[in-house]
């Protein structure tokens, strides 16, 4: 949740569609506008709330315009639902128990000069009856190339607000699938939240050899899974492995529960 490109919800990309882009601000006159890599960042990208129904929470989200162009952001809040294991973003008020419909954003629009940061306050009320566990705060910007102030830019960057109410998460992990990638081994596993509450799964993939020695250890970043959500996690041994039999061990922990899965495969021809 440090400042940086909020890759979590970067649903749009920064696209320069004109070859005639020129800085809107003279970098010499405005040293702060000397930016080497155009970027737009948001902080925090994830907000976790331990919430109770009928309460409200005020959080501030800041956005920084790291591009050499003036950007106008409109703040849009959408509910995050899960359908078929995947996240869906639904406009506020279009889902029963919509949390996005309760959100008060102030201000709802921002105009940021190059290098400038802005901040909006987001007030979220938790409805008494809702199955929704996350909302997305989108900062949407689209510049007009006719303004002749810079190239046309369309971006959509967002912060995810997750809620933990009183339900229970239930982590389920599928079997570890191993695949031979030349002299490397890749691991794939499916995680599903079968419960009614958001869960954050922390996991590792370990690859051990015949003698039990550790060849590869991958600490996966914490994975947020909304109720019903499914995700595939993948990893690959970073270096070439000698032929032999390998055992893959995956461990995922959520709250106090630990799920361990194992699989093995022969890499190359057996001796």
């Amino acid at each position: 949740m440090r400042e940086g490109l909020a890759a979590v919800l970067l649903t749009g990309s920064l696209a320069f569609v004109s070859a005639e882009a020129r800085p809107a601000v003279d970098p010499v006159a405005h040293p702060s506008s000397i930016i080497r890599t155009p970027s737009v960042s948001i902080e925090p990208a994830v907000v976790e709330l331990d919430a109770g129904a009928g309460t409200s929470f005020l959080r501030e989200i800041s956005v920084r315009n790291g591009t050499p162009f003036e950007l106008q952001f409109n703040v849009v809040v959408e509910d995050v639902l899960v359908h078929g294991g995947k996240r869906l973003f639904r406009p506020a008020g279009e889902s029963r128990g919509s949390i996005a419909a309760t959100v008060v954003v102030d201000p709802a629009a921002l105009v940021l000069q190059p290098g400038q940061s802005g901040r909006v306050s987001v007030l979220i009320t938790i409805p008494h009856e809702t199955a929704i566990r996350a909302v997305a705060i989108f900062f949407r910007s689209r510049t007009n190339d006719a303004s002749a102030r810079g190239p046309a830019i369309s971006l959509n960057i967002g912060a995810l607000v997750t809620l933990r109410l009183s339900g229970k998460p239930d982590l389920f992990s599928g079997p570890v699938l191993l695949r031979e990638e030349g002299s490397r081994i890749s691991l794939v596993q499916t995680l599903t939240n079968r419960g009614s509450e958001l869960l954050i799964a922390k996991g590792t993939f370990a690859l051990v050899g015949e003698g039990g020695e550790l060849h590869t250890l991958v600490h996966l970043p914490p994975t947020r899974l909304l109720p019903g959500e499914t995700t595939n996690l993948e990893a690959e041994s970073p270096r070439a492995l000698p032929p032999g039999r390998y055992r893959a061990i995956s461990t995922f922990a959520s709250d106090e529960r630990l799920v361990v899965r194992e699989a093995s495969m022969q890499l190359g021809e057996p001796k």
């Binding site: 008020g93 409805p127 008494h128 590792t204 922990a253 361990v260």
Partner: protein, 1202 residues
């Protein structure tokens, strides 16, 4: 028997424990710990941010980073095991919760056994990074009728980021040779690397606290840390001790220099050398100490050596002498390691001297993480200052089984002690288990000894005397045993039974702990120990049991109580037992709530309003609607309700930060517009804004092929609310402030051309408070396939072929061409089709692709001849082959454009946005005034670009499109910007690419023509003649694409006689008029400016012929469909007229169509449509525009009234 029962019981308990349990490791943050798992092959942390793990077989080292619980995964050949590591927070100065700025603890405890009453008072406070802690303890102990009073501990500590000052009691640990964990009452200062201590240390301690007596020693000293490198430090120490004169007096001065080196977990080293001078002797004496710890993957070595002669100045309680301890552990094989250790002690204490040396070598074999086996040997030599030497030799054997939840161990030990026995055996079992909050440990052991003669005679002095009197000499206990059994004199004296069995004394020991803890609430603990010693002459038993229970009585009050009882028995009659209880109470006060500590603090009020904030401003202003009766809670404890003014107030609230929360309960969805709970302080106002949440109506507008349709207007009406919204991206969403029943309808006039208006009926929806409702509309696209079947061959004249059978192979439908050789299939689904024309033995076929969007493919002409019996197609000039495989997206557009050339009479496929793919358009602005839009069109024309006007309600969007690539669009935009227009490159909207279908194509014709004629002069001089050569008509205007220049329709395409029957319908005037009335005009103008000439062929243009665009007025009509005979149509007219509606019949050649209208509004159309439907007449909503109804009717050929 008793022994067996005890042994069995111990074994059963050990096995029972082994069934459960989990052994946690607890480490403070910043510390590390190591465990051995012999068969582990790898280990890693599952929570690396809490604790890290390094593995060097078989040792696992865990380094704790921050507070939390980390799981450690241990990989063994058997699988993966986990170990929980609880990382506790670093030691904090605060006695109590860090959240509290101030805290006071009171604790009282009484122990009936020792008749001791303890009281403890501690206080801590922190503010602005400064912490203060004070504590005092008082003990009162009854002693022979009197009560002794003590203050065993009193301290006051003040800490800032730069220094720490402690008054009275503190533990001092500076170095091994100077002050090594000694309690000093005085002044202590720690600042800038200096540590100074001055005060008294007492001889007597009670537990770890002082028992103040007169015997005390003065201490004053100073230490300073000088850092040499990042890893090494030098610390000089200088201390002065002054004690009472006496035998153990060691008053004097000592100075030492200590060097410390730290290379992480691999090597630590501390060496100290001291010089001292005793006051009593005045001589200098030296001492030194060395400690080292070295670890690698395979080796661990530890060394601790101290030389501290009795002449070294120090406190009287310091132990003098030499001490050495060295151990080395080496991993020999994968799961086998050896450990050797040597210990030497030579203590010199006043009145007591003893030297001891011990050495040992043990081997441990751990085939896996659960099982362990060990053995080895140990030898020890004890040399007391007086008396004989004692030697001891041991050979142990151990086996252990360990799991995180349960485990156990068994041990056998052979012991020889030259002082007490000539061989003994010890067997010990132990086990542990844990489940949920309960934990149990049990152990039991049995030890047998073969005592030496010295021990026997010491126990039985009468026996030694008797043997001497009898002249019997025995050399060993075994010989003594034989003598006792065989000598009748001794048997008569009763020694046989008394001694023979007791030559091997037996000891039993057992113990256990059962603990249960409920997190944060209660805990229970039971501990027992039992011992039975069967000596040579008597048996002794002793046992103790202790039970304790603690419970939290509320958030700040703890209670602890317990009872203990012990017994001893020596012989049958020597029984004694004693018991006692204790009770302790601890009360905590802090400034977080309304307990006692807050009595001394400043107080104030917290107040505010709860109000209705429908605008979500979050600010309360007078005049706003307030909400009475709302419960407001302070710190989860105090509750009030708002009064009639919506006002609440908490009085006499102690200063500090408080939590205030409004509890709003409602069946209707709502939202806070201010935080609730809110953090506030006394004197501040907290207002709570509450707003209701509107219901939401939303839906999608899409075609029968799930293609989003844009630009449609959706309106809702009901419950006093009337709203409409324009669909964007195929979706619409409307806030509905009031619940109720609503009529949701699609405004028919807004439906793009090419789509059927059938079935777009208004929908009734009920919208609840704050709840979403969905109303979707599916608008089917109109698709048809038509053309002409001709007969002819090479060199012969082509003639229309009447009576030919035309089949759609995939569809199964067939029809016969009319007198002009025309055919038409309506309601065609998207997909690939093969059109087959047959006439006698002649046949031909064409393969075509019908797109998903609207499409009127009216130029699917087929030529049949005797020579054409197989599939063939007629190559049309300027037109792509229609029998090719499924066209690409762009090909479809091009073909559509070609087919839809003015006068061609064909209806092009509607190009949707999804299908447009990589097509681009340039938007030239959106204007309120039509004249401005026309000006933009003219400007574009000057740049050799043709633009269209997309009329959307009161706005006019000017767009030029399509462009085949982004680069082309950018180039055009650049040119137009130079010309002074504001441009935006956009994806070509479907509405700008699609063509008008039959039904509503007419509706926009006049507008299009008007705009076109305005710019006609410019278009007649295109740049290079390659621009503006083809066009298509849409509801949004005209699109001119240079990309389709080569695909102009052939002149023959506009010949009216070749158009199908359907083309005569007034619903397709653009096509039909072109066919019927324009050939001459077309021929005349096509030579100079093909595109304009063709467009001018439209008859509508001839009677409109405006110089300025005229805003069309939509005329709403209903079309009843096609009737085979005029009588059927006349019946429909009668029914319509019976409803007060105007109706006319139009003869389209093959069919008779009934037109009903006009209507003033969509609502009127809807009403009429429903009424007619009730009477069995299904109608189609038709939009006419640009001319009054009568004028339009007059232009329709074949119009008759019944």
């Amino acid at each position: 028997m008793t022994r067996r029962i005890a042994l069995l019981l111990a074994l059963a308990l050990a096995l029972l424990e082994a069934a459960t349990a989990h052994a946690d490791i607890r480490i403070k943050a910043g510390k590390s710990a190591s465990i051995d798992v012999p068969n582990a092959t790898a280990a890693y942390s599952l929570d690396p941010d809490v604790a890290g793990v390094s593995f060097a077989r078989p040792e696992i080292t865990i380094v704790a980073y921050r507070e939390g619980v980390a799981r450690v995964a241990i990989i063994t050949p058997a699988g993966l095991e986990t170990l929980d590591v609880v990382v506790t927070p670093r030691e904090s100065l605060s006695l109590l919760s860090t959240r509290s700025r101030s805290a006071l603890n009171l604790e009282s405890r009484y122990d009936s056994w020792s008749e001791r009453f303890d009281q403890r008072v501690s206080f801590s406070t922190s503010r602005d990074g400064r912490q203060t802690r004070a504590e005092i303890r008082h003990s009162a102990v009854s002693n022979a009728g009197s009560t002794d009073q003590y203050i065993p501990w009193a301290t006051w500590r003040f800490q800032t980021p730069s220094y720490t000052l402690t008054l009275l009691d503190a533990w001092v640990s500076e170095s091994v040779l100077t002050m090594d964990r000694r309690l000093v009452r005085g002044v202590h200062l720690d600042a800038a690397g200096f540590r100074a201590h001055a005060g008294y240390s007492f001889y007597s301690l009670l537990g770890q606290t002082f028992l103040p007596k007169d015997e005390r020693e003065r201490v004053i000293g100073l230490s300073y840390d000088a850092r040499l490198t990042d890893r090494s430090t030098v610390t000089p120490h200088l201390y002065r001790f002054d004690g009472e004169a006496g035998a153990a007096d060691r008053s004097g001065t000592i100075g030492s220099l200590e060097y410390k080196y730290d290379r992480g977990s691999e090597l630590t080293l501390a060496a100290e050398a001291a010089v001292s001078r005793l006051d009593e002797t005045g001589e200098l004496e030296t001492g030194f100490a060395l400690r080292s710890d070295y670890r690698t993957d395979r080796d661990q070595a530890r060394l601790d050596f101290r030389y501290r002669p009795a002449e070294l100045a120090g406190l009287r309680r310091e132990v003098s002498g030499s001490f050495g301890d060295a151990s080395w552990r080496h991993v020999i094989l994968h799961s086998l390691d050896a450990t050797a250790n040597v210990t030497f002690q030579d203590f010199s204490i006043s009145g007591y001297e003893q030297t001891s040396t011990s050495s040992g070598l043990t081997f441990a074999y751990r085939p896996n993480s659960r099982w362990g086996f060990g053995s080895g040997g140990r030898y020890a030599l004890l040399q007391p200052g007086s008396g004989p030497e004692i030697e001891q030799f041991e050979i142990p054997f151990t086996i252990s089984y360990r799991r995180p939840s349960a485990g156990g161990a068994a041990e056998y030990r052979y012991i020889e002690n030259s002082h007490s026995n000539e061989g003994g055996h010890l067997v010990r079992f132990s086990g542990y288990g844990r489940m949920a909050g309960a934990r149990a440990t049990l152990w039991a052991e049995r030890e047998t000894n073969a005592p030496t003669l010295a021990v026997i005679f010491r126990e039985q002095p009468g026996l030694a005397l008797l043997l001497a009197e009898l002249g019997i000499i025995v050399a060993s206990p075994f010989e003594l045993s034989r003598v006792l059994r065989e000598n009748p004199a001794l048997a008569e004296l009763g020694f046989i039974e008394g001694v023979t069995f007791n030559l091997s004394p037996v000891s039993y020991r057992a113990g256990g702990t059962l603990a249960w803890m409920e997190r944060g609430a209660s805990s229970f603990r039971l501990t027992t120990n039992y011992r039975r010693d069967e000596g040579i002459s008597r048996t002794r038993e002793a046992g103790v049991a202790f039970v304790s229970f603690s419970h939290h009585l509320g958030a700040s009050l703890d209670l602890e109580t317990g009872y203990s009882r012990s017994f001893t028995r020596s012989g049958a009659d020597d029984w004694s037992s004693a018991g006692g209880w204790h009770l302790g109470i601890r009360k905590r006060f802090d400034d977080s709530g309304g307990n006692g500590l807050s009595l001394f603090r400043r107080r104030g009020e917290i107040s505010g309003y709860v109000f209705l904030d429908e605008e979500s401003t979050g600010r309360f202003q007078p005049g706003m609607t307030v909400l009475p009766g709302i419960e407001v809670v302070l710190d989860d404890e105090q509750r009030v309700r708002t009064d009639a003014r919506g006002f609440f107030e908490f009085r006499r609230v102690p200063e500090g930060v408080h939590k205030v929360q409004a509890i709003y309960l409602s069946d209707k969805p709502f939202k806070f517009t201010t935080p609730s709970p809110a953090q506030t302080e006394i004197g501040e106002t907290v207002n709570f804004g509450i707003a209701s949440i509107a219901g939401r109506l939303f839906g999608v507008i899409e075609s029968d092929q799930k293609i989003a349709i844009d630009g449609v207007t959706v309106s809702i009406d009901g419950a006093g609310v009337s709203k409409n919204v324009v669909v964007r991206g195929g979706r619409y969403s409307i806030d509905v402030p009031r619940p109720g029943a609503y009529l949701v309808s699609v405004e028919r006039a807004s439906v793009p051309s090419g789509y059927s208006l059938l079935g777009i009926e208004p929908k009734e929806v009920t919208i609840a408070d704050g709840q979403p409702s969905e109303a979707n509309f599916v608008i089917p696209a109109i698709r048809s396939i038509g053309g002409t079947v001709e007969r002819g061959g090479a060199g012969s004249t082509r003639t229309a072929l009447s009576g030919a059978v035309v089949r759609l192979e995939e569809d199964g439908r067939s029809m016969t061409t009319d007198a002009e050789g025309r055919y038409l299939f309506r309601d065609v689904a998207p997909g690939r089709y093969t059109v087959v024309a047959e006439h006698g033995a002649m046949a031909n076929r064409r393969s075509i692709a019908v797109p998903k969007g609207p499409a009127a493919m009216r130029s699917i002409d087929l030529l049949v001849d005797e020579g054409l019996l197989t599939a063939a197609s007629r190559p049309a000039k300027g037109r792509r082959r229609a029998d090719s495989v499924a066209p690409s997206r762009r090909e479809i557009v091009r073909q559509v454009a070609a087919d839809d050339a003015p006068g061609s009479g064909s209806m092009p496929a509607k190009k949707t946005r999804a299908e447009s793919g990589d097509l681009f358009a340039v938007q030239l602005g959106v204007y309120r005034q039509e004249t401005n839009a026309l000006r933009a069109v003219e400007t574009a024309a000057r740049e050799s670009l043709t633009a269209s006007i997309d009329r959307q309600r009161s706005l006019h969007r000017v767009v030029t499109a399509p462009f085949a690539s982004r680069a082309e669009a950018d180039a055009a935009a650049k040119r137009l910007r130079r010309a002074g227009l504001e441009t935006t490159v956009i994806a070509a909207p479907a509405s700008l690419i699609a063509s008008a279908p039959a039904v509503s194509q007419t509706s926009r014709t006049d507008e299009v023509i008007a705009a076109k004629q305005d710019i006609a002069p410019s278009l007649q001089a295109p740049n290079g003649g390659s621009v503006a050569s083809n066009s298509e008509t849409t509801s949004a205007g005209i699109i001119v694409s240079p990309a389709v220049t080569a695909e102009k329709p052939a002149p023959s395409r506009i010949a009216p006689e070749k158009e199908p029957v359907r083309s005569e319908s007034p619903a397709t005037p653009a096509a039909s008029h072109a066919m019927q009335k324009a050939p001459t005009a077309s021929a005349q103008k096509s030579e100079a400016a093909p595109a304009v000439a063709q467009r001018n062929d439209f008859p509508a243009a001839s009677h409109a012929a405006p110089t300025r665009a005229r805003r069309p007025e939509p005329i709403r009509m209903l079309q009843s469909g096609s009737h085979r005979n005029v009588s059927s149509a006349a019946a429909t007219v009668k029914i319509a007229e019976s409803q007060g509606l105007q109706a006319v019949i139009r003869n389209s050649g093959t069919f008779f169509e009934v037109l009903i209208g006009p209507f003033a509004s969509d609502q009127a159309v809807g009403v009429a449509q429903r009424e007619l439907e009730k009477r069995g007449i299904r109608t189609l909503f038709v939009i006419e525009s640009s001319s009054p109804f009568a004028e339009r009717v007059a232009t329709v050929a074949g119009l008759v009234r019944p």
